[in-house]
Symmetry: D2
Subunit: 333 residues, 4 copies
C-alpha cells in the first residue's frame, strides 16, 4: 500500500484524490492546498488529513509519495523539497515554464534517487497506447510519418493565457511528448507557424491560437502537429501513424456508440468529450497505476523528469521558430 | 452489336435508353410507347426510330432483343409475343402480379428457347454482388443468418398503391430475390407481419406500409427482412450476412465521402441516395452488360424467368401469412 | 450508506463485490456462498465477513440489501426469505426458469413492500440508454420498427446448456427486456424460428443455437430479434430503432478507437469485447448506483419483479412458437 | 457539339478518348501520337482519324478544341501552336517543369484569347468539390486550418522519377492547386522538409519520397500537406478543413460499401482505389464536361493557365525550402 500526500486541491487535484482513493494499492493520507478550505473539503471527502504546511507532510515517514497538482510556478520548489525528503514524486506537467529553472531543479535532485514521474497522461490513454504498441509490434512496418491533431474545446480566459507561457509550453507540450512517445526518437529540427484566428486579444500578448508544426527525427521520420485553442465539436485528439506497411489511426473515443440518421444527415454521432478530465479519465487512472506499480516493484517510473525537460526544450524551440520564421535545431541535453 | 427495341418510354424506360446507347456493344433501334409523344422524344434523343406498334418491331429481323419497361399488366402479353417472334427479352420486374398468369406465360414460352432475363437489378449492384462473391469464396464460412433492410425513401401515391398488388409483390419482391441470390437456396417457410404506421389510407385497401418477415431454408438458414414505405434519410438498402467465421455487411453507398463535425454532432454524412435510379445506376448498367454478354456468348441469361416466378410465389406466401397470421410453407414449382 | 450482503461468490458475484466496494454509498458487509472457500476469499479481499448461512445475514438488522448472484434455481427461495426479512433485493436475472414458480414467488412477496430490482443490466448500458433517451425525446419521431442483434461470443458447454431452460429463457430473455424497455409497450404477438447451425448436440436436447423472432405491440410497432450462440468477432449487441423521422443505432462500443489500414484491408478495428462482464461493465456499475439511489431516495427500483416476470412470459411464448411453428399471443398478467 | 483532337495516345490519352466519345456534346475527330500505331489503334476504336502531324489538325477549321495529353516536355510547344491556331485547349498538368518556360509560353499566348484549361482534375472530384462547396456555403464558418493527405499507391520507376522534376513539381503540384482551390487564397509562405524513406535511390538524384509542408495565406490560414510516394493500402487522398464552426473531411471513396468482421478484426473495408484513373474517373468526366460547357456557353474555363503557373511557382518554392531548410516567401505574379 502506497501512502500518498496530495499537494493542490483544485480541479485536477480533486480528480487525483478520487483516483488515489479508488486504487486498491494506494491510500490518501494528506491533502495540502494554500487555500485551506479546499484542502479541508477534499480531505474530509476521502478520509484524509488536511495540513497547513508541506513540511508537515514531508516530515512524516509513513508518506511514500507526493502527487504535485499545484500551480505550475510552485512545481520546482515542491519537487526539490520532496526529493530531498526522499519522497517519490508524481508531478503534473509542465515542470516549469522556464527550461533554465527545470535544469537547475534537475541539478539539485538528480542525486536524490527518488522516483519522479511527470504527468504526461496521454501516454497512458488506452487508445494512444494501443497505437504505440501495435506500431512497436511492427503492424505497419517502419514508421515514416506521424500526424498529431490537438484541438482544445475552447480557449481559456485571456488572464489565464497571459501566464501560460504561450501555446507551445502550455498546450502543445503534450504533443511534443506524444511525438517522442510514438516515434521513439528525438526531434532534430522543429518549424512552427501560427496565427490568431480565434481570439484577436492573443496578438497583444504575443501569443497565437492556431499553430502548425513540422518536426524531423535523426532517422528522417517526419511529423506534423496541428493545434487550435477552440474546436466547437469537442476535444479533438487524434494520431495518425503512417508506415511502410500500413497506417494506424488513434481516433477520438466516443461518449457513446449511438448514431443518428435523419432527413438532415446520416450516421451523425455525439460531439466529442468536453475536455481532458473526461477524455483522459482512463489515462489518469492508468498513469497512477503505473506510478504505484513502479514504486511497489522498484522499477523506474516513466515518463521521467528528463522526458519532461525534453518536451520543454521542444516548446522553447517551437517558440523560437514562430518568432524567427526559421527552422530551429534542437540542442542535445 | 446487339440491336435493341425499347418497349415503354416512361421514367425507367428513359434510363434504359440511355444505358443502351452508352453501351459499346448495343444499339437502340426502336422505341415504342402507347403514349406516342414520349416514344418520339426518346427516339429523337438517341437517334432511334419511334414506332406505333410492337408488331412492327417484332417483324424486323435486325432486332435481336426487346427491353420491356412498360406497365406491369402488359408484361405477360409482350413477353409471349416477343418470345414467339424469337427475340431475346430483358423484362422489368415483376413479370405479373398474378402468379397464375406468370405460370400460363411460362407454359406458352418455355419451348421458344429465347433468352429471357428478369430485371432484378440488385443482383448486379457492385456492393451486394461483392458481398455475395465474398460469401461464396468462404470469407465468413457457412452462412447462418441473413438480414435484409429495405426502406423506400417515400410512399407512392395511394392511387399507384391501389394497383401495386400489395407491398410484397410491389416492393419486397426484390428482397425475396436477394434472399435467393445470397443464400443460394429456396425458402421453405415464410412468416410475415405488418402494420400501417405511415399512411393510414393503406388500411382501407387491405395493404400495410411496414413489414417484418422471417424466412427459413431447407438447410436451416434463417433470414429477416424488414421493409418500410417511407425512410426520411433516403433509400436504405442493406444486407447483413452472418456466418460461422464472420460477418459481411453491404452498407449504403454514399453520394460523396464528405463528413461534417459541428457543435451539433460529428461525422455526419449526407443523406442516402434519393431512390433506385440513382442508387442502382451502376447495377442497371451491369445488368444490361450481363444480358448483352450472355447474348453474344450464347450463355444462359440470369436471373431467369423461373427466378422471377419464384420471387412471385414468395410474395404470395408472404401475403397469405400476413392475412392468416400463420407461417406459410412454400410449395415447390 | 447502504449495507450489502452478497449471496453467491462465483464469477458474477466477484464482479458485484468489486462494484459494491468501489461505490461511495455502499458497503459490503457479508458474503455467502454454498462453497465456503469462495465466500472466504471474496470476503477477505473486500474486508467483508464470510458467513455460513443466509439466515445469519437476514437476522442482522444492519443489512439493508441483498444482492442475489447465486444459481438460478435458488433465486426464488432467496428472494422470498429476503423479502420476508425486509431486505431490499437486487437479483440477477432470470428470476426462475419456471414462470409458474415466478408467479408463486410474487404471490408470497408482493405484500412485503421491499424494493426488488431484477438484474437486466442492459437498461443501464450507456449506449442503449442513450438510444432510449433520444427516442423518448422524439429525436426520430414515432418508433415504427426495432431490430435487436444478440450474438454471444461463444456457445456454453453442453452441460450448462442442458439446464439453461433453452436459448429464449437463458439468453434472449435480455432482449425481451430490451424490447419492452425501448418500445415502452408489451408484445401482443411473438413468432420464433430456430436452427442448430453451431452445435449439432443441441438438437438432442431440443434446443437451438440460432434464432430469429418477430414481435408486435398493440400499437402496431414491429420488432425483429436475431440471436446466435457463437459470434467469432466478439460479443455483438446492437439496437436499431427506426422511426417516422429517422433512425437511431446503438452500435458496439470498442475496446479502443484504433483503426488499421494495410495492404489487406483498411479501417479495420479491434474485435468486440469478449463477453458481458467486459462489455457491460459500465452498465453493471450504473445498475448498482440506480438500485442504491432508489433505496436512499425511497423511490421505486426498476426494472421491477414484474418486469422480470414479463420477460419470462415472453420466453415461454417464444418457446411455444418455436415448437408449434405458429405465432403465439402473449397473455396479459 | 465540340469537335476534339486528342494529342497523345498513351494511358491517360486513352482515358480521355473514351470520355470524349461518351460525351453527348463532344466528338473525337483526330488522334495524334508520335508513336503512330498507338494513334491508329485509338482512332479506330472510337471512329476518329489518326493523323501524322499536329499541323494537319490545327489547319482543320472544324476542330474546336485540342486535348493535350502528350509528355510534359512537349506541352509548351503544343499549347503555343494550338493557341495561335485559335483552338481551345485542355492541357494535362503540369504546363512545364520550368516556370521560366511557362512564363514565356504565357507571354506568347496571352493575347490569343483562346480558352485554356489546365488538367487539375481534383477540383472536379465529387467529394473534394462537395467539401469546397459546403465550405463556401459557410457550413463550418471561417476556414482556419487545412490538412491535405496525398499518398500515391506506389513509387514510379527510378527512370521516370529522374525526369519528373522532383516530388513537388510532379506529384504535390496537385495538392498546391487543392490548397488554392479550398482556401481561395494564395500562399504567402511555404516550408518543406523531406526524407528518402521509401527508395534510397532517390537520394542519388537529389529527390525525396516523403514530404511534409506548411503553408500560410495572407489572412493567416494555415495548411499542412503530407505526401508519400508509396502507400500500401492504396491511393490515399484526403482533405480536412477545420473552421470556426466545425470540420469537413473529404474521405477516400470506396470501391464498394462492404465491411467484413472476422475473428481477426471488425469493420474491415476494401483497400482504396489502385490509382488516379480509377479514383478520379468521375473527376475526369466532370472536368471534360466543365470545359465543354465553358466553350458552348462562352464563359471562362477554369482552372486557368495562370492557375497552372501559380501551382508551378509553389512547387519551385517548396523545392527551394527543402534545399535551404528555410521558409520561402512566394513572389506575386
Amino acid at each position: 500500500m502506497i501512502n500518498f500526500a496530495l499537494l493542490g486541491a483544485g480541479r485536477i487535484g480533486k480528480m487525483h484524490a478520487g483516483l488515489i482513493s479508488a486504487s486498491a494499492q494506494a491510500n490518501l493520507s494528506y491533502v495540502f492546498d494554500t487555500y485551506q478550505p479546499a484542502a479541508n473539503e477534499l480531505a474530509d471527502k476521502y478520509g484524509a488529513t488536511a495540513v497547513e504546511s508541506v513540511d508537515q507532510i514531508l516530515a512524516d515517514d509513513s508518506i511514500d509519495a507526493v502527487l504535485i497538482a499545484t500551480t505550475t510556478d510552485t512545481h520546482v520548489e515542491l519537487i526539490i523539497k520532496s526529493a530531498l525528503a526522499g519522497k517519490a514524486i508524481l508531478c503534473e506537467k509542465p515542470i516549469d515554464l522556464s527550461t533554465d529553472l527545470v535544469r537547475q531543479c534537475w541539478d539539485k535532485i538528480k542525486d536524490c534517487q527518488v522516483p519522479i514521474q511527470i504527468g504526461f497522461n496521454r501516454r497512458f490513454d488506452p487508445t494512444h497506447a494501443e497505437l504505440q504498441q501495435q506500431l512497436n509490434q511492427g503492424e505497419i512496418g517502419e514508421l515514416q510519418q506521424l500526424i498529431i491533431t490537438s484541438r482544445d474545446p475552447d480557449i481559456a480566459p485571456a488572464e489565464y493565457l497571459r501566464h501560460s507561457g504561450g501555446i507551445f509550453r502550455d498546450m502543445i507540450i503534450h504533443d511534443f511528448d506524444m511525438f517522442r512517445f510514438i516515434t521513439g526518437e528525438e526531434a532534430t529540427e522543429i518549424h512552427a507557424i501560427g496565427s490568431t484566428l480565434i481570439d484577436p486579444e492573443l496578438a497583444k500578448i504575443g501569443d497565437v491560437d492556431s499553430v502548425m508544426l513540422t518536426l524531423k527525427t535523426a532517422s528522417g521520420k517526419l511529423c506534423h502537429i496541428n493545434g487550435a485553442r477552440r474546436c466547437v465539436y469537442g476535444y479533438d485528439q487524434r494520431l495518425e501513424a503512417f508506415g511502410s506497411k500500413g497506417m494506424l489511426q488513434s481516433n477520438n473515443p466516443r461518449p457513446n456508440s449511438v448514431t443518428k440518421s435523419t432527413a438532415a444527415n446520416t450516421d451523425a454521432q455525439s460531439v466529442l468529450n468536453p475536455f481532458f478530465i473526461e477524455r483522459y479519465q482512463a489515462a489518469y487512472r492508468a498513469q497512477l497505476d503505473s506510478f504505484i506499480n513502479a514504486l511497489i516493484k522498484k522499477v523506474p517510473t516513466s515518463p521521467s523528469f528528463i522526458d519532461g525537460m525534453k518536451a520543454q526544450m521542444m516548446a522553447d524551440a517551437a517558440q523560437e521558430s514562430l518568432t524567427s520564421g526559421k527552422s530551429v535545431t534542437i540542442a542535445k541535453l
